[in-house]
C-alpha cells in the first residue's frame, strides 16, 4: 500500500536514522590568492598543470544601474563589447577570440556585469589583449547596436521557452527590494527596442568604472605577465558608481502566487524562499537543508530512475542560489514528467513547513555528505571556480570557497538545520508557469 501523506513526511524525516560514517569534508584545496591592485580586487587560483586559463571580470554595471525604462541596456552594452571589431583583419571580439582558441561571454547579475574569457594558456595573453581593446573602446555605432539588439532578442526568445528560467525571472522580480535589480537580465524585446546608441554609450561611460571591479582568474596563469590581469580593469576609467534607487513595495499577504503562460508543453511549479549569504553562519546548514529538500522532493515525486539519472529524476529539484543577491532557495517540479505534480509540490511545501517545527530524527551525515559532494563536484570547471571565488571574495573575508563551504557543512548539526528551516522557510513565493490555453484549475 502506498503510504499516505503523514507517513511520507515521517518516513522522510527519519530517512537517515541509521548512523552514517561518511566524512563530508574533502581534502584540503589550495586557497586562492587575493590582492588589491589599484582599487581592483584580483583573485587567482593558479594550476600549472591546466591547459586553459579562465578569467572573470566583474564590473558594477548590472541591473541595479538601469532605470526601470532602461531594462536591457546593461546587456546591450555587454553584447556590444562582444561585437566590437578588433584585430587585423578586423572582426568581432567574439569571433576574433574564437579564432585565437578561446571564448568570451557575459552574464548580467543584479548589481554586476560579469565577463568570462577562457583560452588555451599559450593564447591567453593575446586573447586578453583583444578583450581589453574592445572593453576600452566599444563600438556603439548604430549598426553594431542593431546587431547586438538582435542577438539579445534571439536569446530572450530562447530563454522564454525554458519554463524554469521564466519562473525564476518572475520570482527574482518579486523578491528584489530594488525593483530594477529584479528586472529581466537581458531586458525584453520591447524595452530593447527603445534603447539606442546614445543610451548604450551613456550607460557605458557612467558605469564602466574601475572602482569596485573584480578580476578572478583560474587555471594556468603562469604565462600571464604580472600586470596582465589588473590591466583589464585599468582599461576602464577610475571612479566608483552607485545603484539607481528604485524602490517598490514587496508583496504582502500570507501567500504569493505568480502565474505566467508560455509556449511550453507542461506546467512547472516553482517555490522560492529567502536564504542566507555565504558569510552567514546559516550558510552551511542551508546547504545541508537544500540537500535534504532535494532528496525529499525526489522521494515524494517517486521519480523513476533506479540507478541511472533520467529525465524524470531531474524534473524535480531544489537549488540554493547563494551566488545571487538576494540569495534564495528554490524548489521546482516539472509537471510534464510527474504523475501528480500538484500533490508532489504541495507535499514538498508541507515537509518544508514541518521541518521548521520538528527536529530531524537520526543522523544528518548522509545529507551533509550529499551537500559536500554537490558543492565540490559542481565546482570543477574554471568558469565556476572563478565565479565562486569572486562571490566569496565579495561576500566574505576570504575567496576560499571550497574549504570554507566544506567546513561549514561539516560542522552543521541537526539543531542548526532546524534553526535555519524555521528562520527562512516560512512563506514562499510561488510561480506557476503554464502552457498557453490552460489555467490554474487545469
Amino acid at each position: 500500500m502506498k503510504p499516505g501523506l503523514p507517513l511520507v513526511i515521517l518516513a522522510t524525516l527519519a530517512i537517515c536514522a541509521a548512523p552514517c560514517t561518511a566524512r563530508a569534508a574533502g581534502a584540503e584545496v589550495p586557497t586562492p590568492t587575493l590582492a588589491n591592485v589599484g582599487g581592483t580586487t584580483v583573485v587567482q587560483q593558479s594550476d600549472s598543470a591546466a591547459s586553459l586559463a579562465g578569467i572573470a571580470l566583474v564590473v558594477r554595471a548590472g541591473l541595479d544601474r538601469e532605470t526601470m525604462k532602461q531594462n536591457g541596456v546593461a546587456a546591450l552594452v555587454a553584447q556590444t563589447i562582444l561585437l566590437t571589431p578588433v584585430g587585423s583583419p578586423a572582426m568581432s571580439l567574439q569571433d576574433a577570440i574564437a579564432a585565437r582558441g578561446g571564448s568570451v561571454r557575459f552574464t548580467i547579475d543584479p548589481s554586476d556585469v560579469r565577463f568570462y574569457i577562457e583560452a588555451l594558456a599559450g593564447d591567453a595573453p593575446a586573447v586578453l589583449d583583444l578583450f581589453r581593446t574592445a572593453l576600452a573602446a566599444p563600438d556603439f555605432s548604430p549598426a553594431t547596436i542593431r546587431t547586438a539588439r538582435a542577438a539579445l532578442v534571439r536569446q530572450i526568445a530562447q530563454s522564454q521557452q525554458q519554463a524554469l528560467q521564466v519562473g525564476l525571472d518572475m520570482l527574482n522580480a518579486a523578491g528584489s527590494s530594488q525593483a530594477n535589480a529584479g528586472l529581466p537580465e537581458l531586458g525584453t524585446p520591447a524595452s530593447l527596442a527603445q534603447i539606442f546608441s546614445n543610451d548604450a554609450r551613456a550607460f557605458y561611460h557612467a558605469y564602466y568604472r574601475r572602482g569596485g571591479s573584480l578580476i578572478s582568474a583560474a587555471g594556468r596563469l603562469d604565462g600571464l605577465g604580472a600586470d596582465t590581469l589588473s590591466s583589464l580593469a585599468a582599461a576602464l576609467p577610475e571612479g566608483t558608481t552607485a545603484p539607481v534607487a528604485v524602490h517598490t513595495p514587496l508583496l504582502s499577504g500570507a501567500t504569493h502566487e505568480i502565474v505566467a503562460h508560455r509556449d511550453i508543453s507542461s506546467p512547472w511549479l516553482i517555490a522560492q524562499y529567502p536564504a542566507p549569504k555565504v558569510d552567514s553562519e546559516d550558510f552551511g546548514p542551508m546547504l545541508v537543508l537544500a540537500a535534504f529538500v532535494r532528496r525529499t522532493l525526489s522521494d515524494i515525486a517517486q521519480v523513476p530512475g533506479v540507478v541511472t539519472p533520467t529525465f524524470a529524476s531531474r524534473s524535480v529539484g531544489a537549488v540554493y542560489a547563494y551566488d545571487r543577491a538576494p540569495p534564495s532557495l528554490v524548489l521546482y517540479v516539472n509537471g510534464g514528467l510527474i504523475g501528480n505534480p500538484s500533490r508532489a509540490f504541495a507535499t514538498a511545501l508541507s515537509v518544508v513547513n514541518v521541518l521548521a517545527a520538528t527536529r530531524l530524527q537520526g543522523s544528518i551525515e548522509e545529507f551533509k555528505a550529499e551537500a559536500a559532494g554537490d558543492f565540490a563536484n559542481d565546482a570543477t570547471t574554471l568558469e565556476t571556480r572563478t565565479w565562486l571565488a569572486a562571490v566569496f571574495s565579495r561576500e566574505s573575508a576570504s575567496p576560499d570557497f571550497i574549504n570554507r563551504a566544506l567546513a561549514a557543512i561539516s560542522t552543521t548539526t541537526p539543531d542548526d538545520v532546524q534553526r535555519v528551516a524555521r528562520k527562512y522557510l516560512g512563506n514562499p513565493t510561488i510561480a506557476l508557469v503554464l502552457p498557453r490555453g490552460t489555467n490554474l484549475q487545469d
Binding site: 574564437a98 579564432a99 583560452a119 528560467q165 540507478v307 541511472t308 533520467t310 551566488d323 550529499e370 551537500a371
Partner: protein, 435 residues
C-alpha cells in the same frame, strides 16, 4: 549548483555522455602502472579541485560473448553496482552516502563505471568499486533492480533522437558483432530473458581485474591505488571486440516514437591517428553546437532542431555519426550534406588555422573536469591507444591536430565522408501524442 546550472540541468534533462572522446592536451604529471592484483591504472591528478573522479573501464561486448544476449553488459554492470558488498551496502548506495554520483556507461564494445566523489571519499570508493566489479556477486534482487533500471532507460531512449538514431545507424553499418545490437535492449522481453546466472557468469568473465583499467583524475594521488581490494588474475586485457562491416550497408526508413534523420560514414581505426584526428576536426568545425558551420545557420529561437555530429573513435573502425531531431530534419540534412560537399575543397589557410586553434580550445574546455578526464583516459585505453589520448603527457593527439593541413582534411572528406548510410526515423501518430 547555482541557479543557471539548475536551469540547464532541468531543461536539458539528462547528462549527455559523449560518444566522441576528444581529450584535452593537458601537461599533467600523469602516471601509468599496474594494479596490485591484476589490471592497470592511469592517474591524472589535479589537487586544485575538491572532487575526485574514479573510473573502471573494461573491454566487454554489450550483446554477450556470443552476441546472443543483447543488453547483458548493461544488466551485469548495473547489477554489480546495486548488489551488496561485504559491508552490506551496495556500491551505488556507498557512493551516494559519500556525496558522490555513479554513472554506468555501456557501449557496444566496452563498459565504463564512473564515479565522481568528494576527494576525501576517493579511497573508499576505489575499494568499493574494485570489490563490486573484480569479485561480482550478483543475486536475483540485484538483477531485478538492473532490469527495472534498463526498462526506464529504454522508455526514455525512445524519445531521444540522438541515441536512437545512433543505434539504428550502427545496426545498418555493422553486419554483426556487438556494434550491430543496441547496448540497451529493444524490449522488456529481451531483458527478462537474461537470467541471474547468465548475468553473473558474464560479470565474472567481463569484469576481471586483468580486463580493466582504473582511471583516477582530480584531487587524488598514486597512494589511492593501494585501496584496490580485489582481483587475482594473471592474464591480460581481452582483445578488442570489433564488429564486421556490412558489405553494402543500406539506408533505411523506420518508425519509432520520434522523427529524425541519421547519417553515418565508416571511418578509420584508432590506429590511423592522422585520419581519426582529421575527422574529429571536421566534426568540430561543421557540427559543434553554437560554433559549427551548420549550427550557425540554424535559428534556435524559432526552431527546435537538434543537430549532433561526432566522429566516434573506436578500435576498428571508427564511425562518423550525424543525427538530426526536432523539426526541419530534411532541410538540415541538406545543409549537412552541402557543408560536407564544400569541405571537399581545401579551406583557405586563415580559415583553417582559426578553425584548428578553435578545435584545440574546444577539446581542452570540454575535458577540463575530473570526470571528463577520467572518462577520456578510460575510453582511449580500452579502445587500444592510450598514447593517442592527449591527456597523457607527451601524448600524440595535440601533435596530430597541429599536423593537419587544409589539403589533408579535404582528402579525408573525399575518402570517408561521401555516400552516407541514412536512417529516416518517422514517429507513429500515437507516439507523437505521447510525452
Amino acid at each position: 549548483m547555482n541557479a543557471r546550472a539548475a536551469v540547464l540541468a532541468a531543461t536539458f534533462a539528462v547528462t549527455v555522455v559523449g560518444l566522441c572522446r576528444t581529450p584535452a592536451p593537458a601537461a599533467m604529471p600523469q602516471a601509468i602502472g599496474s594494479l596490485p592484483r591484476g589490471g592497470s591504472y592511469v592517474l591524472d591528478p589535479d589537487p586544485t579541485v575538491g572532487s575526485a573522479a574514479i573510473g573502471l573501464w573494461f573491454r566487454a561486448p554489450a550483446a554477450g560473448f556470443d552476441n546472443a544476449t543483447p543488453g547483458i553488459s548493461n544488466l551485469a554492470a548495473t547489477a554489480a553496482a546495486v548488489a551488496p558488498l561485504a559491508s552490506g551496502k551496495s556500491l551505488y548506495a556507498l557512493i551516494h552516502s559519500l556525496g558522490g554520483e555513479l554513472n554506468i556507461e555501456v557501449y557496444p564494445d566496452i563498459v565504463g563505471i564512473a564515479a565522481v566523489v568528494p576527494a576525501a571519499a576517493a579511497r573508499r570508493v576505489i575499494a568499493g568499486m574494485t570489490g563490486a566489479y573484480f569479485a561480482p556477486t550478483l543475486d536475483d534482487t540485484a538483477v531485478k533492480t538492473a532490469r527495472a533500471n534498463a526498462a526506464v532507460l529504454g522508455v526514455q531512449q525512445r524519445y531521444e533522437s540522438d541515441a536512437t538514431l545512433h543505434d539504428l545507424l550502427f545496426k545498418q553499418i555493422f553486419a554483426g558483432g556487438p556494434a550491430h545490437y543496441p547496448p540497451l535492449p529493444d524490449s522488456v522481453a529481451q531483458l527478462t530473458s537474461i537470467s541471474t546466472a547468465q548475468a553473473g557468469a558474464y560479470a565474472k568473465r567481463a569484469f576481471r581485474a586483468e580486463n580493466a583499467v582504473l582511471t583516477l583524475a582530480g584531487n587524488v594521488d598514486a597512494s589511492s591505488v593501494s585501496a584496490v581490494t580485489d582481483g587475482g588474475g594473471n592474464g591480460s586485457m581481452d582483445t578488442p571486440y570489433d564488429s564486421p562491416l556490412a558489405k553494402s550497408p543500406a539506408s533505411a526508413t523506420m518508425t519509432g516514437s520520434i522523427d529524425g534523420v541519421g547519417l553515418g560514414w565508416v571511418g578509420p581505426p584508432i590506429a590511423d591517428q592522422k585520419a581519426a584526428t582529421a575527422l574529429d576536426f571536421i566534426a568540430d568545425y561543421l557540427f559543434r553546437d553554437r560554433t559549427g558551420v551548420v549550427p550557425r545557420t540554424l535559428d534556435k529561437s524559432s526552431s527546435d532542431t537538434l543537430l549532433s555530429g561526432q566522429f566516434i573513435t573506436l578500435h576498428d573502425p571508427g564511425v562518423m555519426v550525424v543525427t538530426i531531431g526536432g523539426d526541419e530534419e530534411k532541410a538540415t540534412e541538406q545543409r549537412v550534406l552541402a557543408a560536407l560537399d564544400a569541405l571537399q575543397q581545401p579551406l583557405d589557410r586563415a580559415t583553417f588555422e582559426a578553425a584548428r586553434e578553435a578545435f584545440l580550445y574546444h577539446v581542452a574546455t570540454d575535458t577540463q573536469t575530473p570526470q571528463e578526464r577520467a572518462d577520456n583516459l578510460g575510453w582511449y585505453t580500452v579502445e587500444g591507444n592510450l598514447q593517442y589520448a592527449p591527456g597523457l603527457a607527451n601524448g600524440s593527439y595535440e601533435q596530430a591536430v597541429r599536423a593537419l593541413d587544409p589539403q589533408y582534411v579535404a582528402d579525408v572528406v573525399r575518402r570517408y565522408l561521401r555516400n552516407p548510410v541514412v536512417v529516416n526515423l518517422t514517429a507513429t501518430s500515437s507516439d507523437k501524442e505521447s510525452p
